[in-house]
Symmetry: C2
Subunit: 234 residues, 2 copies
Amino acid sequence: MKISDIQKLVASYPRVPLTVDCVVFGFDENALKVLLIESDISVFEGKWTLLGDFVQDNETLDAAAHRIFRERTGMSDIYLEQVRAFSDPVRHPGGRVITMAYCSLVNIRHHTLRKLDNSLHWHTVHEVTDMAFDHQEIVQVCYTWLQRRIQEHPLGINLLPDKFSLRELQNLYEAILDVRLDRRNFRKKFFSMDFLIDTGEYEDDVPHRPGRLYKFDFDKFEKKKRKWIGIDFA
Amino acid sequence: MKISDIQKLVASYPRVPLTVDCVVFGFDENALKVLLIESDISVFEGKWTLLGDFVQDNETLDAAAHRIFRERTGMSDIYLEQVRAFSDPVRHPGGRVITMAYCSLVNIRHHTLRKLDNSLHWHTVHEVTDMAFDHQEIVQVCYTWLQRRIQEHPLGINLLPDKFSLRELQNLYEAILDVRLDRRNFRKKFFSMDFLIDTGEYEDDVPHRPGRLYKFDFDKFEKKKRKWIGIDFA
DNA sequence: ACAAAAGTGTTAGATCTACACCCATGT
DNA sequence: ACATGGGTGTAGATCTAACACTTTTGT
């Protein structure tokens, strides 16, 4: 028996409240930060939450994530990527709410130029605690996701200014991966990938020899279709 | 102003119909297959769809995926992983429906031992066409996801019998990645990772010298916490 | 005996790692 | 002049890629 009134079928099924939560990472003073807002819910008084909101009827999840980010921070044109859904039936005290976590990376300097809701604050990722809902877990999952992701994709560059020195880039990787890397090997690695564009400019206002400033050639990166055959489970 | 009646707040927000679709991969005759069912919806007469269903009120998405898989195939205890959500507001002719895609890997031989709904069929991934909804895109995204994932995680082993020869394993990788690999190097690679357990048994019913059969040591794999520092964008 | 795939080592090239000194700038 | 980080090269170890022959089984 075929189903002909599909509208009716869809209408008959359970619907769930669906939210998007943005885990917004920034990089400042050589530490990875996450942007949080004070909870406006009584039961979570004094706790911090991610930037989130319910999904509207006529928008994609990506669009919802961009909208939420824009509404809360005034910024647009930022890097956002879906990470995963959190769907424990009792994760939200108001009842069943499923949320899709998005990871976002912004340059913290651009960000602070904007007028912001003053309940927004940057928190060092390693020191975040006292979060509402399951947001602690969401931050942790996104952080782990980011650690993997920056090793195979240059998304981390979004945390830096347009023009950046190799020192800044290395500090970024060291902070996120929580390792110490050899400076010469790090440079060789990035130069050999051949995605850095030398701007010819130099750092300014540094109390030592200024470093060269580079941009990242995202177009070139996108064009190089990567076959990447290299099985390795370790 | 704090929000105190959080139940009421949640109740006031839009709800969306949410489904889970399982992309079930199998491996047979050296080709990657995907398990599809004939659509029971009039507008998609003659088209194929993934195994999907609406999410119930009190289950996680993972639980929904397992339930759907069990209901349709009779199997449990299978490998399932969340891939990503598809949320185009017009992806479903019955109205706004968001779906979460899950990738599942099963051994096609175990599978066919069960009595199955006879509208279920295995299709060669490269030849799938004429699918309902956006399921073609979902299959494509999951296939691409799988190609990456099997290079860093041994989930592909779930497509093989418990005991398998290295030839079978190599055929699997060659089929999924669509490349040709050197046999000796492939063996060296897997032996050096040291996750294969030699069962001491051999293939049977092959018209040539039988190969040794191995099991994969998933416990050992899980224990080896992988640091995996190796930046590489290419 | 033949067909078919199993099993096995070596070498050259590429990549990775570890490591130390001089240079340019601000104070 | 000195303190600070910028910039550079090399050698040894490791990993990767390319390559051919003998062995075992079924027919």
